[in-house]
């Protein structure tokens, strides 16, 4: 690969202020994501994966804070020195995010079509009509049948899988160069999970976007990603190509995680391959 | 439990100031005779004229009948706070009984009680009071207390009903029922004590609404009649002429200070209860 990677994260630290004190959710994380690359971010729940994603987007909640010294370079831009306005311009257009809970991530009182079209409208599309048509075309691309009719429905009227497709349409409408997918399948049934993963892979091949795929599911990692970052207690403990990771994990924690997978698989159906 | 949440509510400076202001007014009401420099009903001396602006002899001025406004204000505290306090006591008692009954009995009793509450709440209180005054004529102090009390209970009954319905589903209540404790004892021993914090908040709400209502009624000339001084009718007497601003300003300030204190205190109490429930979870 020539030139600098698409995303360079250096010594990223994110803290949350809680009643009980400061929590170091992300504690000095450094990694790269190259253009067109699919990188997995794996770890137990609560290890700081989502906090990392929200930090990259700069959409932390009010009690969250990026510590000085953190650096995020994206596409030649220093994200942490950008104004909020410039950041808004970037979000949704160059840098997008797919959320974990499709129902709560969608506004319950707006039609899903309007929510997808809003992305275009926010980024300079003047015509309502054009924005709407683009939204429907995108919904069709994500595999929603009768997208024109579905677009006029509200989130609660759609199935879980369809809602996740809407979120994907929202994130990919403007063909961003990096998409952060925060456990996009964990709230879905197993069969739907597979469909959504296929969809994401197809769309990635079509657009050539880079994906930072957050998951706790090694099955997904093996299937989709070329490289994996293993996160534990706010730190990245291993950064390796997926095949090497599975073959010979360098960090004992990774080995531990991998060892747990089959054992859990033998147990209950829900969260089958969960860490 | 109750004293604990009250203590937490009193931690803020605002709440302490509110208590101080209310204590001052209550002191005025109780010791009006000792505190008031003049007799509120008769003009103090021949040489002081009527409608005098504030001066050293009369810090709050004199009214149209040459009476000392400060003295009338102090006696007015007795009347206004007495009426407000008594009617709130009545309203909260009735409200608690209706609410507890509705919440505990459930079924058609509950439905009937709540429709009655809807009905009373959907008549603007002032309109209903006007209708009542129209029927009974000029009211005595007792009459006003009764009317304000009997129109003020629905909010309390809603709050108490909601709390009772929550409490009666608690584990320890189920346990008591399972061991054969009679219903009335469960109500008295396990449910009602838990309602007390909410009842105190309901009382502050009732008080904060009854004081302006009484003042408005008096201001409309439908409440307490002169010469009995109440803060509301003092304003009525003074509001004709904008030049006698002290006749409106001082009783007005007294009303606002009282209601503001009650509101502030109510807010703090509510926050304290919320915090307590949050901690329990």
């Amino acid at each position: 690969m020539t030139g600098p990677p698409l995303l360079q994260v250096q010594d990223l630290r994110t803290t949350y202020v809680r009643d009980t004190g400061r929590v170091h959710a992300v504690d000095g994380v450094t990694f790269d994501v190259g253009a067109g690359e699919i990188v997995a971010l794996v770890g137990e729940s609560g290890c700081g994966k989502t906090a990392l994603a929200l930090s990259l987007m700069r959409v932390l909640s009010t009690n969250g804070r990026l510590e000085p010294g953190s650096r995020i370079r994206f596409d030649g831009l220093d994200l942490l020195s950008l104004s909020e306005r410039a950041m808004c311009d970037l979000r949704g257009r160059r840098l997008a995010m797919i959320f974990q809970e499709p129902l709560s991530a969608l506004n319950p009182v707006m039609t899903v079509g309007a929510q997808v079209a809003e992305v275009a409208r926010l980024h300079g599309e003047r015509s309502r009509r054009v924005a709407w048509d683009r939204a429907i075309a995108m919904l069709e691309r994500t595999g929603i049948a009768a997208a024109g009719r579905r677009a006029r429905q509200y989130p609660h009227e759609l199935s879980g899988g369809m809602r996740q497709r809407v979120l994907i349409a929202m994130a990919l409408l403007l063909a961003p160069s990096l998409v952060i997918a925060d456990e996009p399948t964990s709230a879905l049934d197993v069969t739907v999970q597979a469909q959504i993963l296929d969809l994401l892979r197809d769309l990635q091949r079509e657009t050539g976007m880079a994906v930072l795929f957050i998951t706790h599911d090694f099955g997904v990692v093996a299937e989709l990603c070329s490289r994996a970052l293993v996160m534990r207690e706010g730190k990245i403990v291993e950064d390796a190509p997926v095949d090497r990771l599975f073959r010979s994990p360098a960090h004992p924690y990774t080995a531990e995680l991998l060892a747990v997978v089959p054992r859990l698989r033998a147990h209950g159906p829900r969260g089958a391959t969960a860490v | 439990m109750a004293p604990l949440f009250a203590r937490r509510a009193l931690r803020s400076t605002g709440a302490r100031m509110a208590v101080g202001i209310l204590a001052l007014f209550v002191l005025c009401a109780v010791a009006a005779k000792q505190l008031a420099p003049y007799d509120p009903r008769v003009q103090p001396a021949a040489d002081t004229g009527k409608n005098q602006p504030p001066s050293r002899a009369h810090p709050f001025g004199t009214d149209g009948a040459s009476r000392d406004v400060l003295s009338r204000l102090i006696y007015g505290a007795r009347v206004s706070l007495g009426v407000a306090g008594s009617s709130v006591l009545l309203a909260v008692t009735v409200g608690a009984l209706v609410g507890a009954l509705a919440g505990f009995a459930g079924g058609w009793v509950d439905a009937a009680a709540m429709r009655l509450v809807d009905a009373v709440l959907s008549v603007p209180r002032l309109l209903l009071l006007i209708a009542l005054v129209a029927s009974v004529g000029p009211l005595s102090i007792g009459g006003i207390i009764l009317l304000l009390g009997l129109t003020g209970w629905p909010v309390t009954s809603r709050i108490v009903r909601a709390e009772v319905r929550t409490l009666r589903e608690r584990e320890y209540v189920h346990a008591a029922r399972a061991t054969g404790v009679p219903e009335w004892r469960i109500l008295a021993a396990h449910v009602l004590p838990g309602v007390i914090p909410q009842l105190i908040v309901a009382a502050t709400l009732a008080l904060a609404s009854v004081i302006p209502t009484e003042a408005s009624l008096s201001y409309l000339g439908l409440g307490l009649r002169p010469p009995t001084p109440s803060w509301g009718n003092m304003i009525l007497e003074g509001s004709d002429d904008p030049r006698t601003w002290w006749l409106v300003l001082f009783p007005g300030l007294a009303i606002v200070a009282t209601v503001l204190s009650v509101n502030a205190l109510g807010d703090r109490l509510r926050e304290a209860i919320d915090a307590r429930q949050y901690q329990r979870r």
Binding site: L54, V59, S61, E84, R85, D89, R91, R93, A96, M97, F99, S104, A105, L106, N107, P108, V109, E118, V119, L122, Y154, E157, L167, M170, A171 | R115, D118, A119, L121, S122, V123, P124, R125, L126, L127, L128, I130, A131, V133, A134, S135, V136, G137, A208, I211, A215, S216, L220, G221, I235, S239, P242, W245, V248, G252, I255, V256, V259, L260, N263
Partner: protein, 324 residues
């Protein structure tokens, strides 16, 4: 939706019937009747008094008066006001629209102000400015309407002379004005009474609105709106506000009784020719039919308004809208 509509309408009807009965019983149980005061003059013969009573039906037993009254009510006949010398229905027709104008203006202004204020407070939670605004709102809620009205009157009408002191129109000039100036005349007269009520309404609404927006703010969909590139203001207005809308409309219904009570006082102070002032005047004359009609009109207003608010609130939420 239809079920909600029907049940809410039925509930309102029951409430109105209860109120009507309650008001009737209370007023008629009281000792004396209109003529015991106005005709108590010893020079008036008792035959005249009795004839007057018979004419208005006050000599009949209470249940009969009630049945007759309900029957008349159903036909839209509300009786005859002996103090104003005209049918009650006519008095209501003349006064109720004025009260609706006053309350409607106050409600709209109060809602806009309260929503803006409450939303702003929620978005600046914990800041010094927000605390100051909270204190100011509590203060505004602690001032009875009549004091606010008197203060506004003294400042804007008497001291600054910006606005007229009382009435709804300029008595001397109004009839010679063109349409535009007539409207302007009414607006000038409306400013103080409606402004007073709007202030109180805004203070109440802002407290609800602040809580409602604070409840919405942690929602995930606001974060996804930000992730789409929406600016703070867009997130707040298009996403947070719209979700707080349903409860807010329902609150409007609950505000109506207090607003109407405030209107009574304010009408009196600014001599606004509405039904509140009409009722206060009617009490003095012991004009039963008029007072009764006022109470009834008031509770109809509140009941219908409350039901409408509930229905509108559920329309604002698509999750409730489609439920039948």
């Amino acid at each position: 939706m239809r079920r909600l509509l029907v049940s809410r309408a039925a509930q309102s009807a029951v409430v109105i019937a209860l109120v009507a009965t309650l008001a009737f019983v209370l007023i008629h149980l009281a000792p004396g009747d209109p003529f015991s005061t106005s005709l108590d003059d010893p020079r008036v013969g008792s035959e005249i008094r009795d004839r007057q009573r018979a004419l208005f039906g006050y000599d009949r037993p209470l249940p009969e008066q009630y049945v007759r009254w309900v029957g008349n009510l159903a036909r839209g006949e509300l009786g005859y006001s002996h103090t104003l010398g005209s049918p009650v229905a006519e008095v209501l027709r003349d006064t109720v629209p004025h009260t609706l104008l006053l309350m409607g203006t106050a409600l709209v202004l109060g809602l806009i102000g309260g929503v803006a204020l409450g939303t702003w407070q929620a978005s600046r939670r914990g800041s010094v400015a927000e605390h100051a605004a909270g204190a100011a709102i509590l203060f505004a809620l602690s001032v009875p309407e009549f004091l606010l009205a008197l203060g506004a009157l003294a400042l804007f009408a008497i001291h600054l002379r910006w606005l007229p002191v009382s009435g709804m129109v300029d008595p001397a000039m109004h009839d010679s004005m063109g349409l535009v100036r007539r409207v302007a005349d009414v607006v000038r007269h409306l400013a103080l009474p409606a402004g007073t009520l709007a202030l109180v309404t805004a203070a109440g609404v802002s407290r609800y609105q602040r809580t409602a927006v604070l409840a919405v703010l942690p929602e995930d969909f606001l974060r996804s709106a930000r992730a789409k590139g929406a600016r703070r203001s867009v997130v707040l207005v298009r996403h947070a506000l719209r979700n707080a809308l349903g409860p807010l409309i329902a609150i409007c219904g609950l505000l109506l009784p207090a607003l109407l009570g405030g209107a009574v006082v304010v009408e009196r102070i600014f001599a606004w020719p509405g039904m509140g002032r009409m009722m206060v005047d009617a009490v003095g004359g012991r004009d039963y039919p008029l007072v009764l009609a006022g109470v009834l009109a008031g509770s109809v207003l509140v009941a219908v308004g409350g039901a409408a608010a509930d229905v509108l609130a559920s329309l604002a939420d698509p999750r409730l809208r489609n439920r039948t």
